[in-house]
Subunit: 222 residues, 2 copies
């Protein structure tokens, strides 16, 4: 199996970045983070990267469709190439990525979203789910398409919504699953076992789901 | 606990109707089916009802917003009242119900949908999910609002989508869960334990979810 090099885009505290670094350090995935890029200078994720001696860059992006945005897109590709990145991982990166990255990394950009897509796309997936009143939510790793949160789905994890949940408590329950499924999706990429057919992702030699039965929420009594 | 009388609307084979009849006969729910109404004369659900000596009616509905549709809406309410119905259950009824029923049964109309709403509303929830390529789908019982598949959610069950699934194989997996969650939602209505707050449903004294952990699909390997 090939070992692959990851470029991770972040905007926030970087807990998914950390789960990827940890999975890499433990040898659970044949991948390692070669560069971390943030649109926010004070993203704690940049500090995490530096703590692990991973090159970390702040690249200001400006508004969409401005010269600054176009320059950032070009700079992103330069950095990814300079660090020999094979696979781009968006991990809580709150901005659009530009057309140069899509051109440079066809079918090699992953995103994680804190809801069961296609439900609750956008930047507030957990809050939106809690407010809508669903009883089951979860998270999704998918190939990124230029339109947010729409690309072919690799893996999903479903969790129950509990009585009294708000966006924060639901987000914490979902995050624990994000930390499992993102390294898994990366590993399948490293193993070359994913094939995109239309908008479906086929995993060669898939295992049965980790829990095969249904989640029923709230719990049954009859 | 009050025993409640159900009026069930069907268009097809009526497997959810059967699960409700069975739960009632077994004493698992404090509810019994008093009348079954179908827009389709040859719906097998009507035969199921008659096999259990439940009054069963074919009420042609015509197109939406026609005099025939309005007459059907009035006839529906007459039949529900004549049979002392407390709670209306839509169980694979493929038509809109009219404003007279909503007026006569405020917050007392349930629907079941074969997807994790708000994903995949409409008449092909299972096929749409399979084609979209989600890795987790499921079913939803919710209070019906006049707009299809939008009302407050009472209970959901999530199931994994497996490699090679199509709409039919996924539908069968989901259906097994529908047969669990619809009787449960009816029982909570009979017990008077559901309260609608905005678009959330609060269940008094809810149990923890029947399976608390996540469903992760495909299964984890790392």
């Amino acid at each position: 199996m090939a070992h692959i090099n990851l470029g991770v885009f972040v905007s926030g505290r970087g807990s998914n970045l950390q789960s990827i670094i940890d999975a890499s350090a433990a040898g659970r995935i044949a991948a390692s983070v070669h560069v971390v890029i943030s649109d926010k200078e004070d993203a704690y994720a940049l500090e995490r990267a530096r703590n692990h001696d991973i090159p970390a860059y702040h690249v200001p992006v400006g508004k969409n469709d401005t010269p600054e945005f176009v320059a950032a897109d070009q700079r992103h590709v330069e950095l990814l190439r300079e660090h020999n990145v094979d696979l781009v991982c968006l991990a809580g990166y709150m901005r659009l990525i530009g057309p140069n990255i899509f051109a440079a990394y066809p079918e090699a950009i992953l995103n994680i979203h804190p809801a069961l897509l296609p439900s609750f796309p956008g930047t507030h997936g957990q809050e939106d789910a809690a407010e809508y009143g669903v009883k089951v939510s979860g998270c999704t790793v998918h190939f990124a398409w230029s339109e947010f949160d729409t690309g072919p789905i690799i893996i999903q994890a479903a969790v129950p919504v509990l009585a009294g949940d708000d966006g924060d408590s639901l987000a914490a329950r979902i995050l624990a699953q994000e930390h499992k499924i993102y390294p898994q999706a990366i590993q399948w990429c490293a193993e070359g076992r994913l094939r995109i057919e239309g908008r479906r992702v086929i995993l060669e030699d898939a295992r049965p789901p980790t829990i095969m039965e249904a989640i029923i929420s709230p719990g049954l009594e009859v």
